[in-house]
């Protein structure tokens, strides 16, 4: 399986994402500069955290208008996996690949610590290795992670089981404790917490490994032809 980690000017979790996919999961992984326009050979796209374009206008808004987004949208439309973490999630929202928007954290502070999360939906290609309602620990690191959507969108997210992760102790004020959501088709996941920073005990948690394993296992199941 081949992963692309898209690197925008200002991405700063790209190496962590690369480390998780390449060194921990041991899959073929490339760091792909945002001006590179060919993503055809990749099976999954990973949008890392950071401050793309310095978050100059709104978090993720400038990256969402960059040329490579057209290809990412095409890749998503084909049903291939796209995972956006932190700034990657903000980019997916700004690009309209996921519904909603981000507000400043309710306490206005940048927060960086381990946070307990619940796996609300384990029937996705990103979470199938987790038990339903498992409580896991990932770090968060964001100033604008206060997920907002209107009531109608929230109802839709709930009815379609699109809420994948919730905070146990909502740190930023997100609507309905939402920490991560998936699109209706089930192949685009955005989340604020960082599974790629929770892949070794040394880092305080290895709960993130199962997320990357889920992607690979699901890909293998649908792509490896039985002999």
């Amino acid at each position: 399986m081949k992963f692309a980690v898209i690197v925008f000017p200002g991405s700063n979790c790209d190496r962590d994402m690369y480390h998780a996919a390449k060194e921990i999961i041991k899959e073929d992984t490339d760091l792909v500069w945002y001006e590179n326009s060919n993503l055809e050979d990749y099976d999954a796209i990973l949008l890392p955290g950071g401050f793309s374009y310095g978050d100059y206008l709104r978090s993720g808004s400038v990256a969402a208008t960059s040329k490579i987004m057209k290809q990412i949208k095409e890749h998503a439309a084909k049903g291939k996996p796209v995972l956006g973490i932190c700034n990657g999630f903000q980019i997916l929202l700004e690009a309209g690949l996921l519904p909603g928007a981000m507000l400043r954290n309710k306490n206005l502070a940048f927060m960086c610590h381990q946070e307990p999360l619940k796996v609300v939906n384990n029937k996705t290609i990103f979470t199938s290795q987790y038990e339903k309602d498992a409580v896991i620990s990932y770090p968060i690191a964001h100033g604008e992670g206060n997920y907002f959507c209107d009531d109608e969108t929230l109802k839709e997210l709930q009815e379609n089981n699109q809420i994948v992760f919730t905070y146990e102790d909502n740190p930023n004020g997100s609507v309905a404790d939402i920490a991560g959501i998936i699109n209706k088709e089930g192949n685009v996941l955005g989340m604020m917490p960082h599974p790629e920073r929770a892949v070794e005990e040394l880092l305080g948690s290895d709960d993130g490994v199962k997320l990357f394993q889920s992607i690979v296992n699901n890909w293998r199941e649908s792509h490896v032809v039985n002999a």
Binding site: A101, L108, N146, F148
Partner: protein
């Protein structure tokens, strides 16, 4: 040449943490009469006059300058003062 001023504000009903912080600070300065503070931004553009100017500015706001999920926008167009 036109000068366009775009005003962007959070929609009513959307939590404005910065506004809340400002309100609290104003109260602590003794301005108890402040019932609400809301923070927005304003963007000035110098634009070559073009047909469909309003429609184009609307599209700019929709596509980039504002996020319609959480923000409202309005804009004024006036003649730019040539220096």
């Amino acid at each position: 040449m036109k000068k366009v001023t775009v005003y962007i504000t959070l929609k009513q009903g959307v939590l404005d943490p910065q506004g809340k912080a400002i309100q609290t600070s104003l109260h602590s300065l003794g301005y108890e009469e402040v019932q609400e503070a809301r923070v927005g931004k304003f963007i000035e553009l110098q634009i070559d006059d073009k047909e469909d100017l309003d429609a184009r500015i609307n599209a700019m706001c929709d596509q980039l300058l504002a996020n319609p999920v959480i923000e409202d926008f309005r804009f004024d167009v006036e003649e730019a003062v040539q220096s």
